[in-house]
Symmetry: C2
Subunit: 313 residues, 2 copies
């Protein structure tokens, strides 16, 4: 998949694009939307006045407000870029301001719970097209965003049965305009797939970093010092936004706990192989997992350079 | 820690440096030793004739042989760069060729087991200085090595009581010459620290990649497609050399199983917090782990750029 943005659109896709929540994702959408001419105007909202001030300083939106409903007023597309657990409240707050024909979308890493929380609040004639860009970094806040964050990444849409196809196509065009490849699937399938490709890996990374930090026999400074042996890779993921991830786990509970159960069963088998000196079982698994990495690199989902292409002399 | 190599030595540290095993680590030592003038001549050995041919083509050693004893003959320093489980056999093979005063070292990720396997074979008057460079990439083979692999990384030495201090200082100078910072500790402490900073992280990465690959409800192509959500970080570690890692787990069994037990207890607590909607416990952990990442970046053990500085537009 190309990691570059194509040419900007000749005519904007939306008249007025409102973005509620100006963190890493929201601010990246604002930047990409302007650079790619995806919207006539970009209105940014964040309930934190300090974030609003920083967004104004960055100059990445045409208007900035702390009032989500004000941003949504007159917008033909509103994207909720708040933590999953806040989507329901924001939908409720903006509902009175939404005009018939407006599209509401989101960027949450969980789709079932978001749909259940948002849909009841939306007025008739407003289309909800849930979306999840599978992209991000461990950094947070409006300064962390950049216009190419979604280029070469997947964006998954999970519209409910009966959603206006024109609205779905408009949201598809938005993500394609930001360089993403779009895939449509059901919300439950999304939540299961992402549980194993994203949620459980994050949980495990948070957990091992926590375990290491708690060790009394190994001082924390030693854990940091010798982290190049593998541990440091986990700390990147475990540095992701705490609020966002708390909400992901609480809102995709069933799929996460099921995948975790499978992970645990496999880990028990691996521990048993170590205890009983079953080198063949270990070698077989380690060879199989190496092939998965090759698949990810050959499909353009990661850099082919060793060590993620970390900067070196 | 600086990630650059200093100026080359004016006079070589060793007359003849023999390297047994020409994979990622062995071939990186050969390159660094020549570039930094650490040895008058570098003799490479690998039991695989195909690897020997590739090393000859790469031109990174003065002599190349499939016979470890031949390489060790006349060497004032021999470094074993073979998987941990092979160190005993190699030590036995080279023992008759070792001259009094020669230094033997290794690069194994486990130190207790290597010392137990190697020491009994070494003739009197030969000094064994076990070493572990905390550096590497997921790639294998002589082509994967590079001269700056150890620059800005730690090298841990675990000499036994009574080892000639001059031999220890010579091995220290070798690693410092390749840009590493050297730390001396006991083998048991090393094996415990590395269990949590390296061995268990690798085991967990291998395990989650295996679990994901086995899923029937999620196809393998979907796991690869949506890996940018976190999973792809794990696949890098799980692409590491299978033989090397099999031997690490079998030879550091006690420490790995103990650390794994702690990891499991913590993971159970985390799963329970998710099941019972304990958002505060999740948020508290996720905030604490973020601080660990900052420590690793500020100590120069990882790139400060988001996403490991993965190449982007």
């Amino acid at each position: 998949m190309p990691e570059r943005l194509g040419a900007p659109r000749e005519a904007p896709l939306f008249r007025r694009l409102a973005i509620v929540g100006m963190g890493l994702i929201g601010s990246s959408i604002a930047r990409a939307a302007r650079r790619q001419n995806l919207a006539g105007s970009v209105v940014a909202a964040d309930r934190d006045e300090g974030v609003c001030a920083r967004v104004r300083d960055l100059g990445i939106a045409d208007a900035v407000t702390a009032d989500a409903a004000e941003a949504a007023h007159g917008a033909d597309c509103v994207i909720l870029c708040v933590p999953v657990g806040a989507c329901g409240a924001v939908a409720k707050a903006i509902a009175p301001a939404l005009e018939p024909g407006a599209i509401v979308s989101d960027v949450g890493s969980v789709k079932g719970a978001v749909m259940a929380q948002v849909e009841p609040h939306l007025p008739k004639g407003v289309q909800f097209v849930p979306a999840h860009p599978v992209a991000g970094t461990e950094d947070s806040g409006p300064e962390a965003g950049f216009a190419t964050l979604f280029a070469g990444r997947w964006a998954i849409l999970t519209p409910a049965y009966g959603t206006d196809p024109q609205a779905v196509e408009a949201v598809r065009a938005l993500w394609e305009g930001m360089g993403s490849a779009v895939e449509i699937m059901s919300a439950p399938h999304h939540d299961l797939v992402l549980a194993i490709t994203s949620h459980v890996p994050h949980l495990i990374a948070y957990n091992i970093v926590g375990t290491a930090a708690d060790l009394e026999r190994v001082t924390r400074s030693e854990v940091i010092k010798f982290s190049a042996g593998g541990f440091r890779d986990f700390t990147r993921i475990a540095a992701s936004d705490p609020t966002m991830w708390r909400d992901v786990f609480l809102n995709n509970k069933e799929a996460v706990l099921e995948m975790l159960q499978r992970f645990n069963e496999d880990l028990s088998a691996l521990a048993r192989a170590i205890r009983w000196d079953d080198g063949e079982a270990l070698y077989e698994l380690f060879t199989r997992t190496r092939a998965i990495r090759r698949g990810i690199v050959s499909e353009g989902q990661d850099a082919p350079a060793p060590d993620f292409g970390r900067p070196r002399e």
